[in-house]
Symmetry: C2
Subunit: 162 residues, 2 copies
């Protein structure tokens, strides 16, 4: 099963996003975990490879089960680990082989084109305390079929919502 | 790739552990995630199935990459998601088909027989703020070869240690 780690850096009211050329959708920099890596190591490595800058204050914000369904049948499932960071060492590259790197105001996470589940988890990472959990079910072309979310606020109390 | 979720409840200075008959080793109640479940759903479901009690204040404490190596070669790899909870609804069963359920003082996590990596992550879950990440590499009979740990304290700052 594939494991993906990504990282949203939030610095001076802005977030660093990667604009992918095919659809023009925005994502947080990240990529596939390597065998034996921890999720933290993978998030920092992938972010640094993609941006040429090193995240500071890296911490986990969400763990998501990602499901692709076609004609009612599950055709793929993987795990997504979303981290946030509070700053950067170094100046990020302007582009990489995946697309163009752009700073945007945090509020633009509400409106920039992206997968709807990504919007849910990046808004959580940017604005909420605690940790989010959930399952996103998509069609093969990333139209969101269903999302189920739970969260905890870091240990004091927790709620599951569906 | 297998995904395992477990949960350590800490209530009145005690932790609820499952003693497995084969080696007499203690574990936190838990088990395999089902397809499409979130890690939170899996931890609560598995804990409830194994104890007949419902955890309260459930929150993620650690995410671990688990590797089994034999003769220098990786023969298995899976993910472990360790949650903590601050209380229980209901009175736990005294045993289940996996073993015997026992309350022990939190301090006994230092000394009870268990896999060494489990000791690292249960001590963290019981005593530390924030979230822990890491990789545990074991022999096929669960002798710890290596552990690599990172942590974050919940967003204010974070450090990687190895």
């Amino acid at each position: 099963m594939q494991r993906i780690a990504n990282l949203l850096v939030i610095q001076d009211g802005q977030v660093l996003l990667l604009k992918k050329p095919r659809r023009g959708w925005y994502v947080a920099p990240g990529g596939k975990m390597e065998p034996g890596e921890s999720i933290y190591e993978a998030a920092v490595r992938e972010f640094t490879e993609e941006t040429e800058a090193v995240p500071v204050g890296t911490h986990l914000k969400g763990v998501y089960t990602m499901v692709i369904k076609e004609d009612g049948k599950v055709i793929d499932e993987w795990m997504l680990f979303t981290f946030a960071a509070s700053g950067l060492l170094g100046r990020p590259a302007e582009e990489n082989r995946e697309g163009v790197l752009e700073w945007h105001p945090v509020s633009s996470l509400q409106t920039l084109p992206m997968a709807e589940g990504d919007r849910t988890n990046l808004l959580f990472a940017a604005h909420q305390a605690g940790t989010q959990y959930g399952t996103f079910t998509y069609t093969p072309d990333f139209s969101l079929i269903r999302e189920t979310i739970q969260y905890s606020d870091g240990g004091v109390k927790a709620n599951g919502t569906d």
